[in-house]
């Protein structure tokens, strides 16, 4: 449906120093999919989104929608933004204050040049969208009288009004307060799947991305770090950045103990001892290897030492959080963060075995 190939867009400060952008970004989005660009600020996610929208002109690369090029650096094709069949929700909503709710939503239909719908048709279609976002009863209201959440809904209604091929959402929830954000998140997802519109969603909030997306592309410093479903990205990070950016993690360094390893399991010699981890690609013998494991995957207290990936540790501190107890456990000079069930009752100073399940201990070889 949407294809982005080798997208480059570099920014410079006034003095000519590089100031972010997107470097060699490639991905495909399938029809009806909700695809998220996730990363910290300045990672290139908004640049990528604005390039798809046509609000920025990339330096090079190819962007295609439904097989037709929107932008092609090599053949100098660049469809103007107002001719791309794309709806967009802006971070600031950009609800026009001089128009009513209805007029805001109807604008995309009113400005259409080719086969503009009739007055009745516009009325019918806009009321349907307004109904869907729950604003039908506010149709005559001035846009300035809407609350933040209502403006957000209106922005969505406007973006969907002409039933575009692609919907772009630029941090749509970042201006809402926490409670409203979760509610709107669910609603966005509902409307998107009901409408079945292919969507590219930009956010810096990993929880939001995981909750809403079919697939996620994690970006950092203008480069694509990893692409996959929420589970894949969380459970099997391929880069240290992704492991650290999404959720909390324990990071260890070591060296491959075996001759070599293919995709699959291998043993790494590390400060805590030999640890069996999962490798997502082949690594030569003796290579320096880092591996990560999530605090909730580490087990303690309920197994005996001496088994595979099990080491003797000593509790440094315990933080009781109600639904969970968080331990810092020292294993041969390494502090390991463990999230255990609150029924696990260890006190600082207690000795305990610590177990890293091999299938959830992920080797990172960049």
């Amino acid at each position: 449906m949407l294809s982005v190939q080798n997208l480059f867009k570099a920014y410079e400060t006034r003095s000519g120093e590089p100031a972010g952008g997107a470097f060699d970004i490639s991905f495909e989005v399938a029809r009806g999919e909700l695809f998220t660009l996730l990363g910290p600020s300045g990672c290139g996610k908004t640049t990528t989104l604005r390039s798809i929208a046509g609000l920025e002109t990339p330096g090079s690369g190819v962007i295609e929608l439904d097989g037709a090029p929107l932008f092609d650096g090599a053949s100098q094709v660049s469809v103007p933004m107002y001719e791309r069949d794309i709806g967009m929700v802006f971070q600031s909503y950009a609800i026009w204050p001089h128009m009513s709710v209805f007029e805001n939503a109807a604008y995309p239909l009113r400005v259409q040049r080719r086969n503009r719908p009739s007055r009745e048709e516009i009325e019918k279609r806009i009321m349907r969208v307004l109904e869907m976002v729950g604003l039908a009863k506010y149709r005559g209201r001035s846009a300035t009288q809407l609350s933040g959440g209502q403006q957000q809904r209106l922005a969505l209604a406007r973006a969907l009004a002409r039933e575009p091929k692609l919907l772009l959402l630029d941090e749509p929830l970042s201006n809402l307060d926490a409670q409203l954000r979760e509610q709107m998140r669910a609603e966005l997802k509902r409307i998107q799947s009901e409408w079945g519109v292919t969507t590219v969603y930009v956010t810096h909030d990993q929880a939001e991305a995981m909750a809403i997306s079919d697939r996620i592309a994690v970006l950092n410093q203008g480069r694509l770090m990893q692409l996959g479903s929420a589970e894949e990205i969380y459970e099997r990070p391929t880069t240290e950045f992704v492991a650290g950016f999404i959720g909390r993690t324990n990071l260890f360094t070591g060296r491959l103990a075996e001759a070599s390893v293919d995709r699959g399991y291998g043993v790494v010699e590390s400060a805590v001892g030999p640890v069996r981890c999962w490798f997502h690609k082949a690594v030569p013998s003796g290579a320096a290897v880092k591996f990560v494991t999530r605090p909730e995957n580490v087990e303690c207290a309920r197994m005996s030492a001496g088994q595979e990936n099990t080491f003797e540790g000593k509790v440094v501190s315990r933080v009781y959080l109600g639904d969970i107890a968080e331990y810092t456990i020292r294993v041969s000079e390494m502090d390991v963060l463990v999230r255990a069930h609150p029924s696990v009752a260890l006190s600082p100073g207690d000795a305990t075995p610590v177990y890293f399940p091999a299938d959830r201990t992920i080797a990172i070889c960049e």
Binding site: A53, Y82, Q91, S92, Q112
Partner: protein
């Protein structure tokens, strides 16, 4: 445990008397309010007083009367003058807005090459006194000027233009306000969230449609407010009506006031007072309207959220058209006036631009200036006056703004008092202070000090604007932190507020300096022998027909002031003061 106070008891407590109420205010507020009252109330009082009394030939006041007002409405000059003033102000506003907004749009929203240089033009324009601007336009468009010679030569003498007319006034004053409109409009465009326009484009709106349905419509309240602002400024302007209008027998309200004080026989102070009060009332009404309009304009801005970025439209090959428009506007507003002044200053006498004039270059005017003590005195007086005014205004308004912004009890009155002079047109202020100084037992009339006092009062609102904006940028907790470290209020003000406020205060100082040294209408009625100042001298030189000396003096003065305005621009840019 809470103690309930019975309502009846609370209400029956004796009301504090006014005096007791005053005593409860902080001492600082009282002192500042007193100083402001001394600066503002006497001129207002004398102005009203003189307009309601019979004025005797010796300058003293006679019996109470309403005859000045009744004369005003029955005489045949008032209504035509009012109509003239309205036509002139509206025309001026339209001319200034068309040029200024076009300039701002090209600079802020397109990629026309060289657009950043427009700011330089605006800075130079800021350094040109209004009176010089008018004079140079008269040199350009006057009977002997190059425009008329060209018209006469190519199309015949019947096509020559008569600049001493309503449209001449409108064009000259309009050009005069272009830099102001440009600066204000470009600030508005800078702060406007471009995603409103982007949202339209993403909805399928083409550039023209977007410009019409979104940019113009959303900008409308702001544009209307700007129109009204220029209208008010033209309404109370004096230079163009005096230099262009009077010569063409076109009277407006401000020149009527001037004429009343300078007419045949003894000055008709009562009539001038009545005129002034009428003008004052009209301006108060207009400013009230303006405040309502501009609040409306801000309503549209407050809806924007985060994620703002400027939007630049790629004009493609058309961008050179944009540049051409900018160059032509620059030439009209700043370039040509300066060129003709420099040209005239190098001529032994001015009779337009002809083949002959290019054979007669001379530096005599500059040598004359260099040797004239009166010129040095005028420059010295003006610099002293400007510096003294700015130095008086800035600390005073800084304290007022700080107390008002931090909501000290009763400090709102400081804000009201310090911005009140805004409603006085300069010529009215001049008249009012004239009354004050001639009635004082102390011999202040005609001294430089009298000009400084009047200017201080007049430019209080401008100092207030800079200081207030500056204080609002300082987070309250920075001061609370100082207080919780054990510093007293004054200590906090000097150690925390002043250093943080410094950039705003410096630019406020420079701005007040620039305004006060260029004013003609305020000091015109106040200066006397020994207290000449440049702008008034220029005005007199023109009245005497000493064009070439005037031009030379103007060139020197513009060079000086451009330096000041460049520093001003640098400071505001560096510290991002709006």
């Amino acid at each position: 445990m809470s103690v309930e106070v019975p309502r009846a008891v609370a209400f029956s407590a004796p009301r504090p008397s006014l005096f007791a109420g005053l005593r409860r205010l902080p001492k600082g507020v009282l002192v500042l309010a007193f100083i402001l009252c001394v600066l503002i109330l006497p001129p207002a009082f004398f102005l009203f007083n003189v307009s309601f009394h019979v004025s005797n030939p010796d300058g003293t006041l006679g019996a109470l009367t309403l005859k000045h007002y009744s004369a005003l409405f029955t005489e045949r000059f008032f209504l035509p003058s009012l109509v003239n003033t309205i036509v002139y102000s509206l025309g001026t506003a339209i001319v200034a807005l068309v040029f200024g907004i076009t300039q701002a749009l090209i600079v802020e929203r397109t990629n026309a090459p060289g657009r950043e240089w427009v700011f330089l033009g605006a800075i130079i324009a800021l350094g040109i006194p209004n009176v010089l601007h008018v004079v140079s336009w008269l040199l350009l468009l006057g009977r002997a000027g190059p425009v008329n010679s060209a018209l006469a030569a190519t199309m015949g003498p019947e096509y020559m233009i008569h600049v001493y007319s309503m449209w001449g006034m409108i064009v000259i004053e309009g050009m005069n306000f272009v830099p102001l409109v440009f600066l204000l409009m470009s600030a508005v465009l800078k702060s406007q969230d471009a995603s409103f326009e982007e949202a339209s484009m993403m909805s399928g709106g083409r550039p023209l449609r977007t410009f019409w349905s979104i940019s113009i419509r959303m900008g409308m309240p702001g544009i209307l407010a700007l129109l009204l602002l220029v209208f008010i400024r033209a309404f109370e302007s004096f230079e163009v009506p005096a230099l262009v209008g009077l010569a063409g027998n076109i009277n407006v309200l401000t020149t009527n006031i001037y004429q009343s004080t300078r007419g045949q026989g003894f000055p008709r102070y009562g009539e001038a007072g009545a005129y002034s009060v009428c003008l004052l009332v009209i301006v108060i009404g207009l400013i009230y309207l303006y405040n309502r309009l501009s609040r409306n304009a801000h309503k549209y801005q407050s809806i924007t959220g985060k994620g703002y970025r400027p939007r630049v439209i790629d004009l493609g090959p058309m961008k050179w058209v944009g540049t051409t428009v900018l160059v032509v506007t620059f030439l009209l507003v700043t370039g040509l006036p300066i060129i003709i002044l420099v040209f005239a200053s190098l001529q032994p006498f001015y009779e337009g631009v002809s083949a002959g004039s290019f054979g007669r270059w001379t530096l005599e005017n500059y040598i004359l200036l260099h040797d004239a003590k009166s010129f040095h005195d005028a420059i010295g007086n003006t610099l002293i006056m400007g510096a003294a005014t700015a130095t008086a205004v800035v600390p005073l308004t800084a304290l007022c703004a700080w107390m008002a912004a931090r909501r000290s009890p009763g400090a709102w009155i400081l804000d009201q008092l310090a911005t009140a002079p805004l409603v006085f047109p300069a010529i009215v202020m001049g008249i009012a202070f004239l009354y004050v100084f001639v009635s004082l037992p102390v011999a202040l009339y005609g001294t430089l000090l009298s000009v400084i006092i009047a200017s201080t009062s007049r430019y209080l609102p401008y100092g207030m604007r800079y200081a207030y904006a500056g204080v609002l940028q300082i987070h309250r907790e920075l001061e609370d932190a100082s207080a919780s470290s054990g510093a007293g209020q004054l200590m906090t003000f000097f150690r925390i507020v002043v250093p943080l406020l410094a950039p705003a205060l410096i630019s406020g100082w420079l701005f007040v300096f620039l305004l006060s040294v260029q004013a003609v209408s305020l000091p015109l009625l106040l200066v006397g022998p020994g207290s000449e100042i440049v702008a008034v001298t220029l005005f007199d030189l023109w009245q005497n027909g000493q064009v070439t000396e005037l031009a030379a003096m103007g060139v020197v003065w513009i060079a000086l002031m451009t330096m000041v305005s460049s520093i001003f621009y640098y400071v505001t840019r560096r510290f991002q003061i709006s």
